[in-house]
């Protein structure tokens, strides 16, 4: 069926919840309202307010309560309305969600999925455009997942829900409805921790994820018309990272650009560049480049374009790396 990412995520939630009553959904406005992006539309009618729970406006409590639910064998799904509002729950995520399996030597794992829309490029309000994945990728025990299309969104979410590890599932708001895709009706998994080559190439590797994938593909298309063959790698799971696919691609192409919409310093690009330096240095024909947002606060909508990495910015980096 042809559907948007919003519909694909909704279907994943609906199908998994229908098949297993350990799944509960909790968050702000997830019930009658169907979520501010309508991702959970119709679920309260299907599963009732006892399973699709509108919580009081409190992120720490939503995540904290979900932790307690896992103690009694449930598998809660928490929706944080925007990534910019996840920080009140940060203590619960860092100190407990990610830590309890290790802390109890396996006695109390936390099979919990935290879904949160993220990212700029949609002319949103202040605090509604953050992309702070790097904060979460540094926490041992967490899995951080970002889909870039409807098909992956459904499969990755189902895999996250079935995972025994806690997952922070970041949904790119820019891609929620931007394109439609054929998505199988039945439930399926897209495996976690596996990157995907979404465009093959031989001259350079662009590593990206989420809403940066369309940007990367656009730039790669333009580069092709100039005779440069760019490979685009969709990381999909940011932590733990599929390092093998990155290294294999860079060893093949000899050049790498990391593209992300988070600020540059201590962003995931730094980790990926270091990894390539450690594992593929002698394959490189040029330094690893990073195309990212600058190290500034996400601006308000009128200035958003200065911030957001564009295909043009990426293309300039492609020229730079090819001319090195």
């Amino acid at each position: 069926m042809i559907m948007t990412m919003v519909q694909a995520i909704n279907q994943a939630l609906s199908q998994e919840m229908a098949g297993d009553d350990r799944y509960l959904l909790l968050g702000e406005d997830v019930g009658r309202d169907g979520g501010v992006f309508r991702v959970t539309e119709g679920l309260v009618d299907k599963f009732g307010p006892g399973r699709v729970i509108d919580t009081p406006l409190a992120e720490s409590a939503a995540v904290g309560a979900a932790i307690g639910m896992t103690a009694l064998g449930l598998r809660p799904i928490v929706e944080i309305q925007f990534m910019g509002f996840i920080y009140p729950a940060f203590n619960q995520i860092l100190s407990h969600v990610a830590r309890l399996r290790n802390r109890t030597r396996g006695r109390f794992p936390v099979p919990l999925t935290i879904r949160t829309p993220y990212g700029a490029g949609v002319r949103a309000l202040e605090h509604h455009s953050e992309s702070t994945e790097a904060l979460f990728c540094q926490i041992p025990g967490l899995t951080v997942v970002v889909p870039s299309n409807a098909y992956d969104a459904k499969g990755l979410l189902i895999a996250s829900l079935r995972s025994e590890d806690p997952v922070v599932f970041m949904e790119p708001t820019k891609l929620y409805r931007s394109e439609k895709q054929d998505v199988p009706e039945e439930a399926y998994e897209v495996p976690l921790r596996q990157a995907k080559i979404v465009r093959e190439g031989k001259d350079l590797t662009i590593v990206a994820w989420g809403a940066m994938i369309p940007v990367a593909l656009k730039a790669a298309g333009k580069a092709a018309s100039e005779g440069v063959s760019a490979e685009v790698l969709d990381l999909r799971t940011l932590a733990p990272m599929d390092r093998e696919t990155i290294i294999a691609s860079v060893k093949k192409t000899g050049r790498a650009i990391v593209l992300h919409e988070a600020p540059k310093t201590c962003g995931l690009g730094a980790e990926i560049a270091a990894l390539i330096g450690e594992r593929a240095l002698l394959s490189l024909s040029a330094p690893v480049l990073r195309v990212t947002a600058p190290d500034i606060t996400v601006p308000l909508p009128k200035s958003e374009d200065y911030y957001y990495p564009s295909p043009e910015k990426l293309l300039r980096a492609i020229h730079e790396i090819m001319e090195f």
């Binding site: 009081p56 409590a61 932790i67 307690g68 639910m69 809660p76 100190s95 109890t104 025990g141």
Partner: protein, 359 residues
Amino acid sequence: MIERFDPLKGERLQILNEAGEVRADLEPALPGEELRRMFGHMVRARAADAKALKLQRQGRLGTYASSRGHEACQVGTASAMDGTDWLFPYFRDLGTYITLGYPLEDYFHYWMGNEAGIRTPEGLNIYPFAIPVASQILHAVGAGMAANYRKLKIAVVATFGDGATSEGDFHEAMNFAGVFKTPNVFVCYNNQFAISVPRSRQTASATIAQKAVAYGFRGVQVDGNDILAVYGAAKEAAQNARSGGGPTLIEAYTYRMGDHTTSDDAARYRTKDDVLEWEKKDPVARFQIYLKKKGLWDEAYEKEVQEKAAEAVEKAVAAAEAKPPASVEDLFAFTYAAMTPNLKEQLTGVAASAKEAAR
């Protein structure tokens, strides 16, 4: 009983006073055997606590948070729980752990610096105690929501100190509990200090118990050095929770007899006189008088209980110290359900360095 003591009117539930006199109309009907068991737990908690402090000074145990003075709060609360109830404790809960049957050797093992000690044995419903203050109260609320969802008739108990009531998580937890009518029993050990900061600096409310009123459920302040009051309130609150009556906040008014932890020096912020005043209210001594009046205590019995406690403590220490050190593999094996290639690689590196260092 809880209804009869309104925190907004400054009323506090006390069944056993400092002189060991009992209010017959409120006295819980407990068989002598059970009373003696409770006394045994209190004595064991105190003995284990004193031992932990000694071990810390000898360098055999790490920084430790003493439970001295909290025996009535802890043993009273845990004695009101059933086997199917859940506990979400904090780091000052030795008597609670002992009463619920947690292996003392494991408790020591944790404080000696090994995570394995906090792995609750199967069959015991104790979530590992939380160190980040107040964070565990939310877990208890979520477990309460899960109990409602599964239609389980259980009580979910959370314990915390007075300092915790200043944290945002306390507010969020109370609010959720009221809204979702969770089967929670919240027991605040108000021991007057959060490290050095006195209770008066935590809240301008006259009591902590009265905060429950604003969240839409019952709160009661009890004498936290009176095990009968703590037990009576907790028992009633737990029964209320199990039968769908929702949450209760119990403020157990007590005093932290020791330093905050072995890294603290309470003499910097409170006087000896204060501590001596509270010595007179000692929860263990008070319960002893009660048992004596009931004909359940004499010198020979005391000696027997003390010896048994000492023996159990020594055995636990020996067992904890005999446990093998954590393996390097154990440090990596529980980060994810399955070890990632990255962790396997790092483990190899750490294990090699450890081997070299041992050479």
